[in-house]
Symmetry: none
Subunit: 215 residues, 4 copies
């Protein structure tokens, strides 16, 4: 009986921790990191401030955890889309870029917080991890292409990083509030094309066709 009580207690504890983390993420998604005070998160989770500190040693750790999980979710999607499945690396990169865009456009505030909003150092390291994750997705595709002979040999790490930055920045303008009506589909097409261009193909005779693909 003592055992079961403990089991239930621990389950409840875990559930509370979840609620807090979820509330923290929601708060960031709604108002950005700047709006995410401990008080606000606790209120959103329906717990007291002290409870937050029972589950997380500090605000920084709480958000590090939150960012880590949100990042992981994003990366999982990307990696799923980019997974080897017979398609050429460039094709899978195009799919990854498209997914990246669509998710960012669907939740702009969170996306901005995850990749750009300034936060404290402990959280920052999670942000870097996310960027590195994105980069690795592209780097792997590039490496694969080089190895299979489809792509020219090149500095894949740098190109991958550049691609991540390119995707982020190309979305920043459209994401900024007060921007005129969004032309999401055209934007996505342009970004995907940009991504494809970044892949240094050996023979480029089909370039035109490729670019039509998304126009």
């Amino acid at each position: 009986m003592a055992y079961r009580a403990t089991e239930r207690t621990e389950a409840r504890k875990a559930a509370t921790r979840e609620r807090i983390a979820a509330a923290a993420l929601d708060q960031v998604a709604d108002g950005g990191y700047a709006s995410a005070g401990v008080q606000a998160v606790a209120a959103r989770a329906g717990v007291a401030v002290g409870t937050v500190y029972r589950h997380f040693p500090s605000k920084a750790e709480l958000f590090a955890d939150v960012f880590r999980r949100a990042s992981q979710r994003e990366l999982d999607v990307m990696e799923e889309v980019a997974r080897p499945d017979g398609r050429a690396p460039a094709e899978r990169a195009a799919a990854a870029a498209e997914v990246f865009c669509r998710r960012a456009l669907a939740g702009p505030v969170l996306a901005y917080s995850l990749i750009a909003e300034p936060v404290d150092p402990a959280v920052e390291s999670e942000r870097l991890r996310l960027r590195r994750g994105y980069r690795d997705v592209f780097a792997n595709l590039l490496e694969e292409g080089v190895e299979s002979g489809e792509l020219e040999p090149h500095d894949t790490a740098t190109v991958a990083a550049a691609l991540v930055g390119a995707l982020g920045e190309a979305l920043v303008g459209p994401l900024s509030p007060g921007h005129r009506q969004r032309r999401d589909e055209a934007l996505i097409a342009a970004i995907v094309n940009f991504t494809l261009n970044a892949f240094p193909r050996k023979e480029r005779t089909d370039d035109g066709a490729r670019q039509q693909q998304y126009a």
Copy 2:
């Protein structure tokens, strides 16, 4: 009757203002915007807190000024390098990208603050101006290429934005502290190549040669 402010006095006042602005810039370059409290800036400038407020109406205005000037300096250099002078647009873009890299590598924390670190709204608008400036440099080159028939028609604004993000991000990894020994020249070459690839040329038969150019 009343003594007039002498040239000496005015010069000293201007010098103090400069010292404060310089200290603010240094502080950002050393510890980022987050570390740049009014107190810290004043101490660094060797003046009292009140003195900062004699020269700038608010912290936001101080940093807006600082960012504006630093940004303008960067843009001037970029624009100078990208200026029409007989070279093809892509060639000038390569030069611009190279300059961008070299300057960022020379002052990484400042570069990061200028293009990425989140700050308050008044300052943020200066950052956006800088990004827009960078983007325009590339957008103009792309437009020029399209008009001259060298480049395929494309969404130049998006490509330009993507390029700005690409340059920034490709440098972030190497810029982050604790990174292993930097191989700056190779990095710059890769980034320049990336930039060239982003230019959608009409005939691409010389691609290989182009890529050798910087390898």
Copy 3:
């Protein structure tokens, strides 16, 4: 599941709020509004500065609350004394004036702050409310007298305002620190008489008798 705020906890919170409000009032009563910084009030209440802000959204709101309550207390007494109960309006006005005097003499600095010391706008509106309250007490009595035919028709609003000012100022001299021995009873009698004289009676043959009433 979640522990609810107990009555004890809420009672303690309310008590702290009271302590802060009381400390604020005491501070004003001792040193005037000018001396009542947030720091000083907190220290007097035996709490930290932040605690003041947990209970009141701003310094202005704190003092608005404090002034509101102190004012209301004064007005309640005045209105009670001036309530219709068979006595003639002038008689009730005399009683009101007397009460006003006695209370002011009992807490001079507070009285001064409540009716005269300049404070910030949010608080000022409470002061005006008090003056208006006092004025209304007298204005109602005057109106009543006019309607019953006891008093000559006259500008009751102005006379009422003048009476409020008269009472206040007649007390200021005696209230100022360093004033020689106070002869409170004589002072009160004189002020009450002044009040009675301000009532423009239709027949005045009993004036002498009336004035004897309080001499």
Copy 4:
């Protein structure tokens, strides 16, 4: 020659002092004491901040001086109007009250500052002096009336003080900004009547007629 030079120098010095004092008064008349920082006064006087401190040991002393002189000016007018000249004391008091009202209505901000706005202690004592001066004007008239047998014996000091307060307060409502259209003449008539009523006459059969006097 040295003598003349000194003479001229001193004259200039006195003139500067005057300019500063005048600027201080103007500033108070325009924006109240709260707006009268040393910087603002200096600017208004066309001198440097340091110059203010060459002529006055402190801000408090400057404004004490300014208030002293402004007060004296008001008192001089009052005393002139109330001077013995054959008219009955009550008549002269009515004239004094009227003058008081007219001047206050002509320069409300200054009037408010002189009699009510909270300032620092050194200045406060000047304000008290002014009130005492006003009071003395009325007290003298009341004494005179008592001595000549026109008035009942009474506490003249208290009645005089009450009158001063009455005048001030009766004007406060109308002086407050945003007050509906001012009916100055009716207001003055009511206040003068109030003043007359405060004079405890021995025979009062002419009361009705007196009140018509200003209606």
